[in-house]
Subunit: 398 residues, 2 copies
């Protein structure tokens, strides 16, 4: 048996190498990367980590280093109750599960629901990491239409009416990759459709705490609690290197998720969970969040100003009130993947938008830009370079 | 669509509730549990954790809290090189992958190789957590025969000759559940068979550092490097609550493992990996290991003495030189699952051995006992209670 023959059928569905190569280039030394989704290092509460570790060991002792329940570390589940309530998600500690990042939630939901050929409905474009999580379970995707305000509810209703959708995957707030936020009116429509069609939504909400302007919008979970697995993370408001995600799911789903994840990693790092319990429950998160917003707000503004300054005026982009990304759509004929090596040559990276589409041809002219990992001046300089390369491309065509 | 219909086919294969119920009872307050596989809390280097955290933040700063490569945190991969070499496993840093516990390695190997119906060869009995990891990928199992010295190599040769085995799963040293260790002579035979049959072995080695007597035996990986994924963990020699496992795999396999795990959890907690890098590379592990052995050695001896003292003389059990478990086989007609509630009623728990078999009927009279989680006197008291219940059972039959 040679190696290729030994691989499972599903392994063929794991991400093609193009995007991996792009992200590898983006993380080369000396490259200003607008490609990643990295929080700023300055946003981490480094100065309290030793204090936090001391507090955790004093409070939990050896328990913080021991095996723990697959469902999650009890004090963290308790600390998350008011944190979720502040977002409008009502849950008892027992109804909260902790995973190794929200990626673990995506993997587990895919694992328990998707047999090969089963239908999963996703936005066009959607989060690349979700496709990476679901793909090994060999789904067939139905793409939901979006406009400048995000998902078009009628498109969801139509998909649920015509396809046997196992679950719907949405990032309704500051979406990755577009930064768009679904309005309250559309959320109400989506909730009504989910209930009427007896459908299940995986609502991925990693960014809603990163709001720099405007008013909070309640999660869809709060509008149709029995039809939504609500997923979030501490990666953007504490530290991604802890790998702590959490979810609130309907009872049946939650039970199977706990069983399934046991086979995957037993449970999430107890130490990381104990540190998170102290961070969320001890008031540290509340104090840190305004500092994080102070770092990101000027970066977001710098990004929007730089787009205005350096991109051709017939290019369009989103103007999100929060999150980490802006989404750019070039004029017809622009192929951002073709531009990519020329931009990288000059020391800047972004993600060509096609990788966020199931049907990649729909995203040829798009690109995702992150504004949290670099300072305002660096962002301006990076956009100038991208603008220059685009201008050269357009000039060469005339 | 009702809930059951929504579940994937594979979800049916996830562990039945019997063993979950047993382990839940075993962890009830007041129960002396010989059921788990928990390291002793006293074995954790709690007193150095704050110091270690300080050292890690001084050395790596924000990097220890940031997203990191799926393959693993570079300083940990480097620190593991001499650690692995001491066991006879030669690997460059790039050839080592870090996972969220060795459970993550089991899941990933299952995921990339097993299509529904594909054959995986396992020992009878084998590690329950491995079955839990592989089951969702819907393998067909071939059971390999074992005797008092572990796997019978001829049984492996026969299985590989007659079945299209995707991979073989073995725990050759201080096996879970039996505590048995495969001799060097048998390891050589196994290595020769793997090479001759061009087969792949997943060698799970969580316990080999926990040796209380006798001489180290080299891993099968060192005898057939191109045919073995070697998996180990810091759960028994640092702390399980960090969830840090690592593996050395042939090139092709390693590449796919890194891609597959990215969809599951992106990467293992950077902080946990940085602490591990400092613990392994900074000489802490070397200082802690003798202390751990000093805690476990008297417990292992107490377990063997208590078995001798309290169990009927026609019962048989293993006498492992290390690890965490002893395996007991009762006389014909003994059903350890039926004894279980009566033992628990008196405040003691173990694991009925049938759960470690693919064909559970082969393990009716067996049980697994852990000796690391309780002190010597408690172990003796627990075995006296188990002995009493067995004596009553035998008396009732006469």
């Amino acid at each position: 048996m040679n190696f290729e023959e030994r691989l499972a059928g599903r392994t063929q569905r794991m991400t093609a190498s193009a995007i991996r190569e792009i992200l590898k280039v983006a993380s080369s030394p000396g490259v200003v990367s607008l490609a990643g989704g990295l929080p700023a290092a300055e946003s981490f509460p480094i100065e309290i980590m030793e204090e936090l570790t001391g507090a955790v060991l004093a409070k939990y002792g050896a328990q913080a280093l021991q095996y723990d329940a697959s469902e999650g570390f009890a004090p963290l589940r308790e600390a998350l109750v008011p944190h979720l309530a502040a977002r409008g998600v009502t849950a008892k500690p027992d109804e909260i599960l902790v995973f190794s990042g929200s990626q673990g939630i995506l993997d587990t939901v895919g694992k328990i629901f998707v047999s090969p050929g089963d239908v999963v409905a996703v936005e066009a474009p959607t989060y690349l990491g979700a496709l990476q999580a679901f793909n090994p379970y060999e789904p067939r995707y139905v793409e939901l239409e979006t406009d400048d305000d995000g998902l078009i509810p009628e498109s969801l209703d139509h998909a649920l009416a015509t396809e046997p959708v196992k679950f719907v995957y949405l990032v309704p707030t500051f979406q990755n990759p577009t930064g768009r936020t679904l309005s309250l009116a559309r959320r109400r429509q989506v909730a009504e459709i989910l209930v009427r069609r007896d459908a299940l939504l995986l609502e991925d909400d990693p960014y809603s705490d990163l709001r720099y302007a405007g008013e909070r919008v309640p999660p869809i979970k709060s509008l149709a609690p029995e039809h939504v697995v609500y997923s979030s993370t501490l990666s953007k408001t504490f530290a991604p290197g802890l790998r702590v995600g959490f979810c609130v799911a309907p009872d049946d789903t939650r039970r199977w998720m706990a069983i399934a994840r046991q086979g995957v990693d037993l449970h999430t790092s107890t130490l990381a969970q104990a540190l998170s319990a102290e961070y969320v429950g001890g008031g540290y998160l509340e104090r840190q969040l305004p500092r994080i917003l102070e770092i990101y707000r000027p970066r977001q503004q710098a990004m929007l100003a730089a787009l205005e300054r350096h991109l051709p005026e017939d290019f369009r982009w989103t103007r999100p009130e929060g999150g980490m990304f802006v989404w750019v759509r070039g004029t017809a004929g622009i192929d951002t993947e073709r531009l990519y090596p020329r931009v990288v040559e000059r020391g800047v990276a972004f993600v060509p938008g096609k990788f966020f589409y199931v049907h990649q041809e729909d995203g040829i002219s798009t690109m995702r830009m992150n504004f949290t990992a670099a300072g305002p001046e660096t962002i301006d300089r990076a956009l100038r370079i991208i603008g220059d390369v685009i201008a050269e491309e357009l000039a060469a065509r005339v």
